[in-house]
């Protein structure tokens, strides 16, 4: 993400030097995530919600379900909408206003993981083909920015979706009437994003903010539960070699399995 140089130069140098020796300033291994704390069902008004702490990074995701019209090219499928807000209270670099390119990119990476892995059975969210379907709004709310918002948001989004309960309904004269009771949102795949930073020609997972400020480039690889790659996004001003990308894909497979265990049991 585009952040002004706030880390003292000396510290930047130290971070980069350590990484070239296979070490990190916070004593993590190059392929080690920060501590993850996950809570689900934190917002009672939302149909589903989750709050994740990834180190000091904190993201909340709320899922709301409403009825709406389907897209004309897929008339019998529900609609998935992912939006991200970089709330001004989360970082001195975030400003209020319409979503900027960073928040749009964040939302679209998370969206791509959920959509391309076919995590939600959207066909089951159809009420009346061509007319009425359920719309699933996934709203990502960044509360504290300390790096790697992508992985934190993707994990919180999946946890919130797994936690989502849909109200029961019946159709009366084409109108949706809410009935008592809930059913689980049909989630059949579990996409997990793993983000790498390239620093001093080495790749490290889960960069925290100060690492993001010194990194040359970033790559996110989203793996589904069958170990298939379902979304990739490179970011940042630098580049990767082919070999680095293949190495990242191998680490992503291993890491996504670890992260998925944390998410799916909660």
């Amino acid at each position: 993400m585009n952040i002004p140089a706030m880390v003292v130069r000396v510290k930047q140098k130290r971070i980069a030097e350590l990484i070239s020796h296979g070490k990190r300033l916070d004593e993590r291994g190059l392929d080690e995530y920060r501590d993850i704390q996950l809570e689900v069902g934190v917002i009672e008004r939302a149909e589903g919600s989750a709050r994740i702490r990834l180190g000091k990074t904190e993201v909340m995701v709320g899922v709301k379900i409403e009825t709406g019209e389907p897209f004309p090219d897929v008339p019998n499928e529900g609609v998935l909408t992912v939006n991200a807000e970089l709330v001004p209270l989360a970082s001195p670099t975030f400003e209020a206003g319409p979503p900027d390119e960073n928040s749009i990119e964040l939302a679209r990476i998370v969206d791509r993981g959920i959509r391309e892995s076919k995590a939600i059975t959207l066909e089951k969210l159809c009420i009346t083909p061509q007319k009425k379907v359920f719309v699933v709004f996934v709203d990502i709310y960044v509360l504290n920015h300390d790096g790697n918002l992508i992985d934190a948001s993707a994990m919180a989004a999946l946890a919130a979706l797994l936690n989502t309960k849909m109200f029961n309904y019946e159709l009366k004269n084409d109108e949706v009437q809410i009935k008592p009771g809930y059913t689980q949102l049909p989630i059949v795949n579990h996409p997990v994003a793993v983000t790498f930073a390239k620093i001093n020609d080495k790749i490290v997972v889960d960069p925290w903010l100060e690492e993001e400020q010194v990194m040359d480039a970033r790559i996110t690889i989203t793996m589904d539960k069958d170990d298939k790659v379902c979304a990739v996004q490179k970011g940042g001003y630098g580049y990767f070699s082919k070999e680095q990308i293949f190495e990242a894909a191998k680490i992503a497979k291993k890491k996504s399995e670890e992260l998925r265990k944390i998410l799916v049991k909660s």
């Binding site: 897209f71 004309p72 090219d73 897929v74 979503p99 390119e101 960073n102 749009i104 990119e105 939302a107 679209r108 791509r112 959509r115 391309e116 892995s117 480039a217 790559i219 589904d224 170990d227 298939k228 790659v229 379902c230 979304a231 990739v232 996004q233 490179k234 970011g235 940042g236 001003y237 630098g238 580049y239 990767f240 070699s241 082919k242 990308i245 293949f246 894909a249 191998k250 497979k253």
Partner: protein
């Protein structure tokens, strides 16, 4: 992307026949017929045009120039600004000219794909503006846009480490293939756009959506890199073509 409506008309039953020939007669690893032209807009400092199959895209570069508003200026390098935009008539159903979320994201990743190639540090406190206008779209427009934006930067005389070439690979009906058309992309299982600087073995843009096994992912990356190398040859030819024509005019 999911919001785009499909092309009108009958969808063919199979996009790849049993001899591994695609619906438009191409082999699996073949680029579409591609025409590149450099320096075709007189007002811009640099410009380029591509016709790649049905894709018709223009790129123009203005700068290095004074930056407004001034507080955005970077003390140690030029600010690269990039706008990818689709004309309302470029797709089957009219697209609103207001920038969509997709266009904002693509503008960002295209900028990041070009940034490693230019010596931005030579022009501190200035801006270099890159405009990409998609006049007609048929899949792979971000890649084609990068390819010509890089040519337009070279045409503008901006010092560069290498040309950036871009090309997508993907998976359709179980086959990995190069340079997908819109129809192939929509019907396909995966799409992987990639930008590459051949002299540095550097991948400057990589995105993917769909589903690929890790093995297929590696193959697709390799295939896209090979496509970029072919595109790079075409880019150099296009630059040389402009140079030769100019010399003839001067005589």
């Amino acid at each position: 992307m999911a919001k785009k409506s499909p092309e009108k008309g009958e969808k063919p039953e199979k996009l790849i026949n049993k001899n591994n020939i695609r619906i438009d007669g191409r082999k699996l690893n073949e680029l579409r017929p591609t025409k590149l032209e450099v320096g075709i807009l007189s007002n811009a400092d640099g410009s380029a045009y591509i016709e790649q199959g049905k894709n018709k895209i223009l790129a123009a570069v203005y700068g290095p120039k004074e930056l407004h508003p001034k507080h955005l200026a970077l003390p140690d390098r030029a600010l690269l600004h990039c706008r990818y935009h689709m004309a309302p008539f470029s797709v089957q159903e009219r697209k609103s000219p207001a920038p969509s979320r997709r266009e904002i994201e693509l503008s960002k990743v295209i900028r990041e794909s070009l940034e490693p190639s230019i010596f931005a540090e030579y022009y501190p406190r200035t801006s270099i503006d890159v405009f990409i206008e998609v006049l007609q779209a048929d899949g792979g427009t971000r890649c084609a846009g990068i390819t010509i934006a890089s040519l337009a930067l070279a045409d503008a005389g901006i010092p560069m480490r290498d040309l950036v070439s871009a090309c997508a690979a993907g998976k359709v009906e179980g086959h990995l293939l190069l340079d997908l058309t819109d129809t192939e992309d929509k019907a396909g299982e995966a799409d992987l756009p990639l930008a590459f600087m051949p002299n540095f073995n550097a991948i400057t843009l990589l995105q993917m959506d769909g589903k690929l096994t890790p093995d297929e992912f590696e193959q697709a990356v390799n295939m896209a890199v090979e496509g970029c190398k072919q595109m790079s040859t075409l880019q150099k030819e296009a630059l040389k073509a402009k140079y030769v024509v100019k010399e003839a005019n001067e005589e």
